[in-house]
């Protein structure tokens, strides 16, 4: 029998539908992989019973002829999504043991579509980080190893590092991610999988632990572009409970998938050519350009002149919003409460928040508090908002000349755990290519395109016009079809 855990979402869906295997068999196979991969630390909570229950329902639905779009597909759920009755921590000590009595809109839609949950996936604490090293529950370890004879543990990317690792290691065929400044795309690139951040507002934020509200956007991570399209269709949709939700119908992205780019123009932003960047990155980018040409697209050079201000603006806006969004974790109503003997309210706040937040979360709360404070607000926050507007205008202008933009996802392949933790700025630089699309709210995806000279995956990023997920997915598919990326991490765990 085919190894069920090697199947994609599409293959599982179709195979289950055709009666090639039962959903329970699929769930059991993935549950076994999850149970056998503790060394990767991809899951904070494992929920095999949830996966089995959904699988039984899927098998019954097949018997009854009432199959749902994703019947029989077990997935991983990033532990930023509130799941009813299952601990939801945002990888923080603050929310350790917190069990919501409500279900996030996105996860509810996936369960309604027939998915089962294999577990809650590890991430950077409150989604703040690019390596998964800020998780209170210990960092996720990438299944990939450098082919340099060493055995360095590598970062799975972040913040959706549990998701990327679980998919790359075949612990689940797909998973949810969230992307605030690259948190779906960068880990996808680091682990050789695909991931798409849709247009801001496509997926409801209701029930997702907030990091930076104006940037946070859920999206799927999976093995290939088609799986991303299928997953996204079942995650997206208008939600009256989220005031920033887009009131638009969800297109049938899967049905309109096409790697034929005839008549399409692909923009290559010259500002993304960084001095001193890893030559493997540039080589992959050039190869990507050739692939899209081969798919029939015209390639044009474009300019996004305010790119260099994107990262600084992002690291003002995101922490500003986070400093306010995380104020609710105060020890009063839920989560951690540290109440030293004889302490008053202020002491409780101080003790709870000192203990409940990790160093990176504290750093961002402090930055955010600073940039919003009286006397600094205009110099930082207002200025950053202006930059944000300029960046959005850059994209608007560029999309006058092209349909999608092609760039690297990240400036490097996966780095070793611990290599960048001492230098937050070096860590932040990881998001240099991802952040502009986030600031502009545009759909963007990463697809695996090549291995670097150390044998580590590299990802190409496609950025599209607002609401044009189809254009992004199609360009992604064109690359996928030509890159022939089928490398996978050798099992060592």
């Amino acid at each position: 029998m085919t190894e069920l855990t090697n199947l994609t979402v599409t293959q599982i869906r179709d195979g289950h539908r055709a009666g090639d295997f039962s959903a329970v068999e699929v769930a059991e196979a993935f549950n076994a992989n999850v149970a056998g991969a503790k060394a990767l630390n991809a899951f904070i909570v494992e929920t095999p019973e949830h996966a089995i229950a959904a699988a039984k329902a899927a098998d019954a639905d097949r018997a009854a002829g009432t199959l749902k779009p994703l019947s029989g597909v077990p997935i991983g759920m990033k532990d930023l999504f509130a799941t009813n009755g299952v601990q939801t921590t945002a990888a923080s000590h603050m929310l350790e043991g917190f069990v919501p009595r409500y279900e996030s809109t996105v996860s509810a839609k996936l369960w309604d579509a027939g998915c089962g949950m294999l577990g809650k996936l590890n991430l950077d604490q409150f989604a703040m980080g690019s390596s998964n090293e800020t998780s209170y529950f210990g960092n996720v370890i990438s299944p990939w190893k450098r082919k340099d004879g060493g055995n360095a543990a590598l970062a799975p990317g972040g913040s959706s590092g549990g998701s990327s690792t679980a998919i790359a290691a075949r612990l689940c065929p797909a998973a949810t991610g969230t992307d605030t400044g690259g948190s779906i795309r960068q880990p996808a690139a680091f682990t050789g999988i695909s991931g798409i951040k849709p247009t801001y507002g496509r997926c409801s934020r209701w029930g997702i632990v907030a990091f930076a509200s104006s940037l946070d956007q859920a999206g799927p991570m999976a093995r290939d572009v088609r799986d991303c399209a299928i997953m996204l269709e079942n995650m997206a949709g208008f939600d009256p409970k989220d005031a920033t939700s887009l009131n638009l119908p969800v297109p049938d992205w899967e049905a309109a998938l096409s790697g034929d780019l005839k008549g399409k123009a692909v923009g290559i932003p010259k500002e993304y050519r960084l001095e001193g960047i890893d030559p493997d990155i540039d080589a992959m980018w050039d190869a990507g350009i050739a692939m899209l040409k081969d798919a029939g697209a015209e390639v044009v050079e474009i300019s996004l002149p305010h790119t260099k201000y994107a990262l600084p603006a992002y690291y003002i806006i995101a922490p500003a919003e986070a400093s306010s969004n995380l104020a609710r974790y105060d020890g009063v109503r839920y989560g951690l409460r540290d109440l030293p003997q004889g302490a008053g309210l202020q002491d409780m706040y101080a003790a709870t928040r000192a203990d409940g937040f990790g160093p990176e979360v504290k750093r961002r709360i402090m930055i955010g508090t600073y940039v919003l404070s009286a006397g600094f607000y205009d110099a930082y926050y207002t200025q950053a908002q202006k930059v944000r507007t300029l960046i959005a205008r850059d994209f608007d202008a560029a999309f006058g000349a092209c349909d999608v933009i092609l760039a690297p996802t990240a400036p490097s392949a996966a780095f070793g755990l611990g290599e960048k933790m001492a230098d937050p700025l070096a860590m932040y630089l990881n998001d240099v290519f991802a952040v502009p699309a986030s600031l502009a709210g545009l759909p963007a995806m990463s697809v695996p395109a090549a291995l670097n000279r150390e044998g580590l995956p590299l990802g190409l990023q496609i950025i599209g016009k607002a609401f044009d997920e189809q254009g992004v997915l199609n360009a992604g598919l064109a690359i996928e079809e030509r890159a022939g990326f089928n490398a996978r991490a050798e099992k060592w765990w």
Partner: protein
């Protein structure tokens, strides 16, 4: 010695200090709870007096991942309120977060509107009221109205060492109505709050119930020598009655004058009012003021109001107190009665229904303000649960107007209506109270009375005309009050030559 002096023109309210006269400058920020079944950003209920923490949604408790969604009805009420004070309505407004930590504030921020409020500049007029020390009407500017969330409530008496939190009020919609510093006396401030309350109740955007905290005021007070620049102001928070607002101003102005005259300076600070001791005390100074780190709430899009929405808001506004008062005056109702009838929306609505049922305005106004209010007062009831409906009252007044019963009998019939709940006509019929214009019967009684009082007839004819009333009284008594007084008058005049 300091003594406030009132009388004369409004702006003549002065504090007499050692160094001369001082003028007080007052601005009010009124927080009015928006009448709505649901909170500003969540679907939770808003009833007053519910068990603690029974009207709390996941959003109100700021659970992880919860998001605010604006409640259209709250926005509508704020817009209608703005229209009622002829204010600019901002088609573009935005919500901002005001960040601070407190146990009654689950989100760690209050969603408010600092930079782009929904309602801009407007005004309202306080009426002249000699007795209250307001010799002429005055226009008070309103700078803005914005909508914001209320906080929860801490309870300190439930546990020896811990405080409890009740989140029922958390997220309830408030309108903050900010006046210009246009008031110059406690009386003006009192009249402003009463007028504002009246308008809110007419519009239906706030029940104006100050005891239940639906309306409360932050009172800004400063003093200056007349003609000087504004002095430094203090802000006394959460004052919850008109009387207390006036008391705060009086006390705070006096305190400031005494402070300045004894060589001190007023510091900009927030103060609290203690009604039991009738004094304010410092809560925090400007130096200790929070840095609220206001910024646009990224969970909410800007609020854009379209023309249809605005038209609906405008069309749904009722006749407002000033317009109603003008209409009553035009109908011949006295200014005093017009003021009394328009002050409370329920009374005005009741009175309008009475007029609609056919009652004559002047007689109806007199009857409502004396008979009806007197009776309700006696019974301790509000007009909204008056035992007599406007339709029934119109019938009673109609019986007087068409001469079926006299005014005196009408009073008795009204009492019986209150007791029995029966209609006036039924009572009149049953008790045979119809007044008679049967000249024969009246003439017969008159003849008897004149015969029995021959001496008085002589005196009357000798010029003591005041005795006419005596003959009227005797005749009415003999007719058991049922004679038509006008007919009695005519017949008596004839009989007495």
């Amino acid at each position: 010695m300091l003594a406030p002096k009132s009388g004369g023109k409004m702006s003549d309210y002065r504090i007499k200090g050692e160094t001369g006269e001082w003028e007080v400058v007052i601005g009010l920020e009124v927080h009015a709870q928006v009448t709505s079944n649901a909170k500003l950003f969540s679907g939770a209920a808003t009833a007053f007096g519910a068990e603690p923490n029974t009207q709390v949604s996941l959003v109100d408790a700021a659970m992880p991942g919860m998001l605010p969604v604006p409640n259209r009805e709250c926005i509508r009420q704020a817009v209608r309120t703005g229209m009622a004070i002829e204010a600019q309505i901002n088609k573009y407004s935005r919500f901002d977060r005001k960040n601070y930590f407190y146990a009654d504030l689950p989100q760690g921020y209050q969603i408010s509107q600092l930079y782009h409020p929904i309602v801009g500049e407007g005004s309202l007029t306080i009426a002249a009221d000699e007795k209250a020390g307001l010799p002429e009407a005055k226009v008070i500017g309103v700078e803005r109205i914005h909508v914001e969330q209320d906080a929860g409530k801490l309870m300190h008496d439930q546990h020896p060492t811990m405080s409890y939190v009740d989140l029922n009020r958390s997220g309830v919609a408030l309108m903050e109505i900010v006046s210009r510093p246009d008031m110059r006396s406690p009386a003006e401030a009192g009249a402003y709050v009463r007028k504002l309350r009246s308008i809110l109740r007419y519009v239906g955007s706030c029940d104006g119930n100050m005891e239940e905290g639906s309306m409360r005021a932050d009172v800004n007070v400063s003093v200056r020598k007349p003609g000087d620049e504004f002095g430094t102001r203090t802000e006394t928070k959460n004052v919850n009655s008109v009387r207390f607002v006036m008391a705060v101003i009086e006390g705070e102005a006096k305190r400031q004058v005494e402070l300045i005259e004894s060589g001190g300076t007023v510091v900009q600070e927030t103060r609290l009012y203690d009604p039991d001791r009738n004094e304010t005390r410092s809560m925090r100074s400007k130096e200790d003021a929070h840095d609220y780190r206001y910024f646009p709430d990224p969970d909410l899009l800007p609020l854009i109001l379209d023309d249809d929405f605005l038209a609906e808001c405008r069309d749904s506004l009722p006749e407002l107190p000033d317009a109603k008062r003008a209409r009553y005056l035009a109908a011949g109702i006295s200014p005093y009665n017009a003021d009394v009838l328009t002050a409370e929306v329920e009374a005005a609505r009741w009175f309008d229904t009475l007029l609609d049922a056919g009652a004559k305005p002047v007689a109806a106004a007199n009857w409502v303000t004396s008979e009806l209010f007197g009776a309700l007062n006696r019974m301790g009831r509000d007009i909204s649960d008056s035992p007599v409906s406007p339709e029934r009252a119109a019938e009673l007044l109609g019986l007087v107007a068409d001469g079926t019963i006299s005014g005196t009998i009408a009073k008795a019939v009204f009492e019986k209506m209150l007791e029995s709940g029966d209609a006036a006509g039924v009572i009149v019929e049953r008790e045979g109270l119809k007044q008679t214009s049967d000249t024969g019967a009246i003439e017969a009684e008159i003849a008897k009375i004149l015969t029995a009082n021959a001496d008085k007839v002589e005196q009357y004819k000798g010029g003591k005309e005041a005795l006419f009333g005596f003959f009227v009284g005797q005749t009415m008594k003999a007719m058991q009050g049922k004679a038509n007084p006008q007919v009695v008058n005519e017949l008596l005049k004839k009989a007495l030559g």
